[in-house]
């Protein structure tokens, strides 16, 4: 029995790798599709599943039809935008987390690290306190999130370039500055109205989702996501050692800030409509990495699909488990943390075993 030569073995390895990736991706897509459809069919208002499916079909085929009955409006005006928004937000956060962990070559960073979330939280808290709501509030949150990233950029830029470590530290500085101001705003907020609203908003929720809000957030999330996907080769290079990346012709500083800018747009759009949602940006990229490996060409799409599916499931729990809405931050941490711990243990046990 002659052993396979290396040249013969490579295509087989590649083929089995491809088969595995295909299997993983179809599994993830099925999971997402099931989560998406099921969450359109369940809710506090009882609509029979068959009727809900029929309504979804009608809504998809004839979107401009006038909706008169309460069932139609519940499924197509309350649940549909909420599920779509949750999917987009989950996808955006997971994608941002995956990209950032690559750029920083650090598995612990999440999209919060750039100060966007805290900056946006400041805008949101201030807006709620001033009695601003609706579109102006969304704009305010987005702008203050962007301002925080720009501030991080300015602080970390020393002698015309910024090291990853100074970016992380500047992010911490800006975050803690903004979170201090948020605490101050909470301290002076009206305990009957604005304080509970701020606290609830800080814990993240899709409860206020409408098609308008979804459409406001969608461009940022989708365009930012697509552009990040187009940078997937660049991300592979940026995740290498600095000198190695530069020797491969990457202008690391500029490209890194391009990635940060896109992430700021994605996270800013998400926070503006649904508050701060933790954990997704760190748990999902790790889970995806365990499933498909470190190559950003596979990691980014896997994070997108898994993030979208996970977020939809979490949000469905949040709105259906009890009559009261459960804040998303609570469930993402309660569900995400144990799963994450389990995945990590399995991963390292296998690695140590082999």
């Amino acid at each position: 029995m002659a052993a396979l030569t290396e040249a013969e073995a490579a295509p087989i390895v590649r083929r089995s790798h491809l088969a595995r990736q295909t299997l993983v991706f179809s599994g993830l897509l099925v999971l997402f599709a099931v989560a998406f459809v099921v969450s359109l069919c369940v809710g506090r208002f009882s609509v029979p599943a068959i009727r809900a499916l029929e309504l979804i079909w009608l809504g998809a085929t004839d979107p401009w039809r006038e909706l008169t009955t309460i069932e139609e409006r519940i499924v197509l005006l309350v649940r549909a935008p909420r599920v779509v928004l949750a999917a987009l937000a989950g996808a955006g956060l997971a994608l941002s987390g995956a990209a950032l962990q690559g750029v920083f070559r650090n598995p612990l960073v999440s999209p919060d690290i750039l100060g966007i979330s805290q900056g946006a939280a400041f805008g949101g808290a201030l807006g709620i306190m001033l009695g601003i709501w609706g579109f102006p509030l969304i704009a305010m949150v987005f702008i203050s999130g962007m301002a925080a990233v720009i501030l991080v950029g300015l602080i970390s830029r020393i002698n015309g370039r910024s090291e990853t470590i100074t970016v992380i530290l500047s992010g911490l500085v800006v975050s803690s500055m903004f979170s201090a101001v948020v605490s101050l705003l909470q301290f002076v907020a009206d305990p009957n109205t604005s304080l509970p609203a701020i606290v609830y908003w800080l814990m993240g929720s899709f409860a206020t989702a409408t098609w308008e809000r979804t459409l406001i957030a969608a461009p940022g999330l989708i365009i930012g996501g697509v552009l990040l996907w187009m940078l997937r080769f660049r991300l592979n290079i940026l995740s290498l050692d600095e000198a190695e990346a530069q020797s491969l012709g990457a202008r690391t500083n500029r490209e890194r800030w391009l990635v940060f800018g896109l992430i700021a747009v994605i996270v800013g759009s998400q926070v503006a409509v649904s508050g701060i949602i933790g954990w997704i940006g760190i748990v999902i990229p790790h889970a995806s990495r365990l499933l498909v490996g470190h190559d950003h060409r596979a990691l980014l799409p896997a994070s997108v699909v898994l993030g979208a599916g996970f977020m939809v499931i979490i949000d469905t729990l949040a709105r259906t488990a009890t009559a009261a809405e459960i804040p998303l931050g609570v469930i993402t941490a309660l569900v995400g943390a144990p799963i994450f711990a389990m995945l990590l243990r399995n991963h390292y046990r296998e690695r140590n075993g082999s």
């Binding site: 506090r44 909706l67 309350v78 009695g131 301290f187 907020a189 009957n192 409860a207 709105r319």
Partner: protein, 363 residues
């Protein structure tokens, strides 16, 4: 050990003080138990009162019949005063300091001490951290509890004794008692199936929050007047979604008076809420803002009950609310309320077109 010595020292000091004052003011000394069962001892009736509790600021004004004794209040109470009619009745209220506390009831001890209060009204049941600074500064704190009509009457009575006007509370409590008994007697005849489901929306603009029955004053008076709390299954005040409101499908919706920019259009312009029974029958109302917001317990609560009763069971209750308001404002604030004032308090302009609301218009 430390607390013991401090206790002993304070005891000695108190003994020395009472010895000094023994021949003068002892006869006037006021001693009572507050709602956390602490003994409150005032050498004489309190002349300078700070209310950290929000609705109690306007209650102190009502109990005193003026603003002289209120020397400090919560910033949120002040905004209610400035938005409502009290700033018109008592223009000097705008000069009463509100820097004595943060809105979240954490006192600013220096600002509080600077007002030189004889008595500080603070919430009980929210931990010692908001009380200890007051007592450590050597000030008298009176702790009160939120929730039921009985607690409200008790702390109002306590306050009126503390300010040396025990006779004043009698007519106010009698009024509460009379109106409550009258409503109860009439509501008794209402069969269960004729009681509409009512929903009180505690917050609307940033997130939607409503309240369960247990421990909720709003649920208590909605049921008192012959309604059924649509959100009875909840526990406390929590965030809900519109789908849940559609599922409850309340027959009447009451909107809070806390959010200045909230009005009934919020319901009528919403694709889901506009299909509820309440919206289709035009039975959506924003709670009035008089001497204080009518949602929580306060000195004007009987007016709030009558307003709610007339709207919830229009066939059973036919209170002449405008006449009742004229009497009440005369008694509470010694103020002759005008028709324009009443229209403003009841939001006649904003919701005059709602079902059963014509009864509240000036004849």
């Amino acid at each position: 050990m430390v607390s013991l010595t401090r206790f002993a020292a304070r005891g000695l000091l108190a003994a020395a003080l009472s010895g000094l004052l023994a021949h003068g003011a002892a006869a006037e000394e006021i001693v009572f138990k507050d709602q956390e069962n602490r003994e409150v001892k005032l050498p004489k009736s309190a002349e300078r009162i700070v209310s950290i509790v929000i609705p109690m600021a306007s209650t102190v004004i009502a109990l005193d019949g003026g603003t002289k004794k209120l020397v400090g209040m919560n910033p949120t109470a002040k905004s209610a005063v400035l938005e409502g009619i009290l700033s018109k009745i008592f223009p000097e209220t705008k000069d009463i300091p509100s820097d004595v506390t943060a809105p979240n009831f954490v006192p600013n001890i220096e600002a509080l001490t600077a007002t030189n209060p004889d008595l500080v009204i603070q919430w009980g049941g929210r931990g010692n951290d908001i009380v200890a600074p007051i007592t450590n500064a050597g000030l008298n704190a009176m702790l009160i509890l939120y929730g039921t009509e009985q607690l409200t009457r008790d702390y109002m009575t306590m306050t009126s004794r503390a300010i040396g006007k025990p006779e004043r509370i009698k007519e106010l409590v009698e009024w509460r008692d009379r109106v409550q008994k009258d409503i109860e007697a009439k509501a008794k005849t209402i069969p269960q199936e004729k009681k509409p489901t009512t929903l009180y929306i505690a917050r609307a603009l940033t997130e939607i929050a409503t309240t369960g029955t247990k421990g909720s004053y709003n649920a208590w008076y909605m049921e008192l007047v012959g309604g059924r709390n649509a959100s009875a299954e909840l526990n406390g005040t929590v965030t809900i979604n519109k789908e849940q409101i559609a599922q409850w499908d309340p027959e009447i919706i009451f909107l809070n008076a806390f959010e200045a920019r909230l009005n009934v259009d919020w319901v009528y312009n919403d694709p889901i809420l506009s299909l509820t029974k309440a919206a289709r029958n035009k039975r959506v109302y924003k709670m009035p803002l008089g001497g204080y917001r009518w949602d929580p317990p306060n000195q004007e609560s009987p007016l709030a009950w009558m307003w709610t009763a007339n709207l919830t069971q229009p066939d059973v209750f036919k209170y002449d609310l405008r006449a009742e308001m004229k009497t009440a404002y005369k008694t509470l604030y010694n103020y002759d309320i005008t028709d324009a004032d009443i229209d403003g308090i009841l939001w006649i302009k904003e919701q005059g077109g709602s079902a059963n609301y014509a009864q509240f218009k000036a004849k």
